[in-house]
Symmetry: C2
Subunit: 226 residues, 2 copies
């Protein structure tokens, strides 16, 4: 569903040079749930943003499906992202002037696609926001904002979901609801999920765990248990 | 060091009415390390903001030291916050145009106080940011931004530190460095720390854990182990 070949991302130069990704080869099969763990600053968000076409590599290639996304025009990349990719940002990136429900349906409203209402209701139930839909982000707790970001990525049922630390601001019970929903999305609908997490319990929901350090994949675990 | 009496915070009215805090009585002794846990949306950040004078209660009182802070002028409240209180925000609240080190020393620069350089160096070492000090927030990972926010609250060695989920974006090793530093600050300097967390391992560093649900304190554990 997604892959990188020799992906490198370098910031700055001279003594401010930072190699955020160092020739990373990784691939995510359709219908697979992968967790990515690693120290703070090891390149996880950078990898996710480059995979989703939100940032450009310095070197190497990214494929979504069988499309090399660096060959796409800005317009086609935007369409690909809107139709095929859901992204949960580490910093949520909600629109402050829209309510929770407007934030959640924003990708579909922009793409003028009608949501599958039963699926959307199920997403809203799983994230526990049914009684907060009319609130704006500044009227929500940190974890509620995070859940709006999660629901926005899941609501359109995209082929591939990139979730950057989706449960970091949630208590274990609220997080478990979301992780169980994501597990079902993979099992029942064949969606592909790539989830960055610092929480081993969250990682245990995945089919495999990749470990990143200093911009490289240094280890891989299959079928992890907490 | 800090306490509330019958603290209530109510948002909205009619059917958008939310009771975020419900007559909360709590007190934090000088030199005590308290963790606060509870479901997402249970009122933890609201309690912390009201304790630190960043938000006003609908009813009840907050004391810092023996001062009822609702009786202070805006000017005196600002001085109290700057001199006595450190706050780690759940959303970090860094200044985007300042570098990491400028963000860290901002409270002291505003107050025109000179930092204790040895202490500041120790804080920077504990949060692991020595090689990122000249970076701006948008050149830092999520966890690095969180660590800047932590260092800013600790750097001036305030009497009371309120930390709202200070390790949520950190791997366990980076988080442990910060928690150990906070434990030392309490043990060696008699600082008071109130830390909201969703992580039981982080809570185990505290002297006691308070559990919040629906705006009330529902349980308390002394000397918790993970
Ligand atoms: N301006 C507002 N208007 C209406 N409701 C609000 C407003 N601000 C906060 N709330 C509500 O108050 C409740 C408590 O919020 P608070 O931020 O204290 O929760 P929290 O315990 O910190 O949660 P989290 O663990 O998700 O950070 C939430 O249910 C939230 O929706
Ligand atoms: N614009 C930039 N200029 C210089 N360095 C940068 C820039 N953006 C990111 N970096 C650096 O790239 C590295 C990788 O960042 P990234 O956000 O991918 O880390 P991460 O693994 O997601 O960390 P965390 O767990 O803290 O979120 C970090 O060390 C960061 O400081
Ligand atoms: Mg990150
Ligand atoms: Mg909060």
């Amino acid at each position: 569903a997604a892959s990188t070949t020799a992906a490198s991302k370098i910031y700055g130069s001279g003594d401010t040079r930072v190699v955020a990704l160092d020739k990373v080869d990784v691939s995510f099969a359709q219908g697979q749930f992968t967790a990515i763990m690693g120290p703070s600053g090891s390149g996880k968000s950078t990898l996710m943003h480059c995979l989703a076409g939100l940032d450009r590599l310095t070197d190497g290639a990214v494929r979504i499906g069988d499309v090399n996304i660096s060959e796409l025009s800005e317009k086609d990349l935007t369409l690909l992202r809107r139709n095929k990719i859901g992204f949960v940002f580490q910093a949520f990136n909600l629109v402050p002037t829209l309510t929770a429900i407007e934030n959640i349906t924003l990708p579909m409203d922009l793409g003028k696609t009608k949501p599958d209402q039963a699926h959307l209701d199920e997403v809203i139930r799983a994230v526990g926001l049914a009684d907060r839909l009319k609130h704006k982000p500044n009227e929500l707790s940190g974890g509620q904002q995070q859940r709006v970001a999660v629901a926005r990525a899941l609501g359109s049922r995209p082929d591939v979901i990139f979730a950057d630390e989706p449960t970091g601001n949630l208590d274990s019970q609220t997080g478990a609801e979301i992780l169980a929903f994501m597990r079902r999305a993979v099992n029942e609908f064949g969606q592909t999920i790539v989830m960055v997490t610092h929480d081993p319990v969250a990682a245990s929901y995945a089919d495999r765990v990749l470990f990143l350090n200093d911009g490289r994949i240094v280890n891989e675990l299959q079928n992890p248990d907490a």
